[in-house]
Symmetry: D2
Subunit: 150 residues, 4 copies
């Protein structure tokens, strides 16, 4: 799966989020920290969706790169409780030479109403932890999901 010039259905990958016991605050509302975990799950599923195994992307010793998260932010608009379902839409907000910014939108299933949203930026580094260009197959695979803005 190259993805490079492929037409895609939608400029995002949508994944269901199962809110688990242990994901909430003491009042049954999803803890803000859990959303950041969901965002990383979103990145993992996004990569899988475009044919890139996450474990070979976050650190790849053969190809001498790593992709650490260097920044993340999120806003939480509506409280979600244990027992509710949400879906997460993952898109690409920005792709630089050496960095990639994922966008996240949390919805109730079948609704366009956003309950939370965020973003996270990863940079490509070499074994010396210095920045380097993004791996080409990553650029090719995520390119079609680059959304002008939102």
């Amino acid at each position: 799966m190259t993805g490079s010039s492929a037409a895609i259905d939608k400029p995002f990958v949508e994944i269901p989020i199962s809110i688990r016991f242990g994901d909430t605050d003491p009042y049954g509302v999803v803890y803000f920290v859990s959303y950041f975990r969901y965002c990383h799950h979103g990145i993992e599923e996004f990569l899988r969706h475009v044919g890139l195994p996450p474990a070979a992307m976050f650190r790849n010793q053969d190809e001498k790169f790593g992709l650490p998260i260097v920044g993340a932010s999120a806003d939480f608009r509506r409280p979600i409780k244990y027992g509710e379902d949400i879906v997460l839409r993952v898109s690409i907000l920005k792709m630089g030479q050496k960095s990639l910014t994922f966008g996240f939108r949390f919805h109730r299933p079948g609704s366009e109403d956003i309950v939370g949203e965020g973003q996270a930026t990863m940079v490509a580094i070499g074994p010396d932890w210095l920045s380097r260009p993004l791996p080409e197959r990553l650029q090719a695979a995520v390119g079609p999901f680059l959304t002008p803005s939102a």
Copy 2:
């Protein structure tokens, strides 16, 4: 402890962060999600430090308020590994009528070198989840830690 007009030593509360097994990514580096948990620990310790029991502040049924986090962000500058120690400085970046923004700076102990930083905003709400003024004793207690900017 009123704190309202009290002189304080430093415009932040510093707490040690113990990096635990389970806080890292598969490569031994602190997972970005863990920093957000540390930030919330920081808020809990900050509140305790100014004489406010966290469990009575995040949701207080008698006084009819809650203080959910509505937004958070962080940047991660240096990788920290399991076995390393860090300290967290918690300050107040902004205090509005109805909201409060905490600032977070992660340092190596005894160093001014910042390894990560972030912020989180909580709003005061009533039992109807509508915003309301911050509880007065919270305003009074955190006021002295308000830092013009950073």
Copy 3:
């Protein structure tokens, strides 16, 4: 879905476990604590599979019962790393008047080779936290999965 006297295919419910970033120890091996989380996910999926919404089972204010976990144990036979896949088989090891013991077996997909196994016991309690009989629809639904032993 009553399940009460229904024939079932297999005396367990099998669910895929996605090993997430953040589930491992600093050396990339699944942290033993994560297995207990997976076990609880297993209970949630098991309940869903037999037609019982987890959020209405762990605490049900209308029907005045809760189902807290009162004990859990697990043994870990093989190290599993981030990037590997495992499946979890959930069965019922024991059903008493007031308690229910779930059994858990972790396998690599398509293999009978067990990489870890465990159990967890929940008891039915009333609003006073005193034990009470298991809800009847829970007994009926899980009965077919009761395995003599293993």
Copy 4:
């Protein structure tokens, strides 16, 4: 600190447990999985207490050993809520040639009343993941905490 023949005050190391936001179930009661995390924190603090840096014990590449957890169990006797304090007493239940079993007892501070208890066993392995004798300095350091039984 050798610990080998040193007299010790008490046959356990007691550590305070800070119940954090995010440690509970949706009803505000400490989630059973969190206790297992607390147990591992207990091991980390126990090791630190006897002069052994945890990060150099769980995996030590120079001395060619690792100490994975191969089994754990716990019973939960009383519900503990967010806002309550507990302390954890860590002792050594068993020391074999190649394995070590830690015992855990959770109390309310200043009370002998046990709210939960458990155990966890670690084995010494070499780089090949085969079992090997426990490192001598570990045996010497933990020996004084070996309690006949409980």
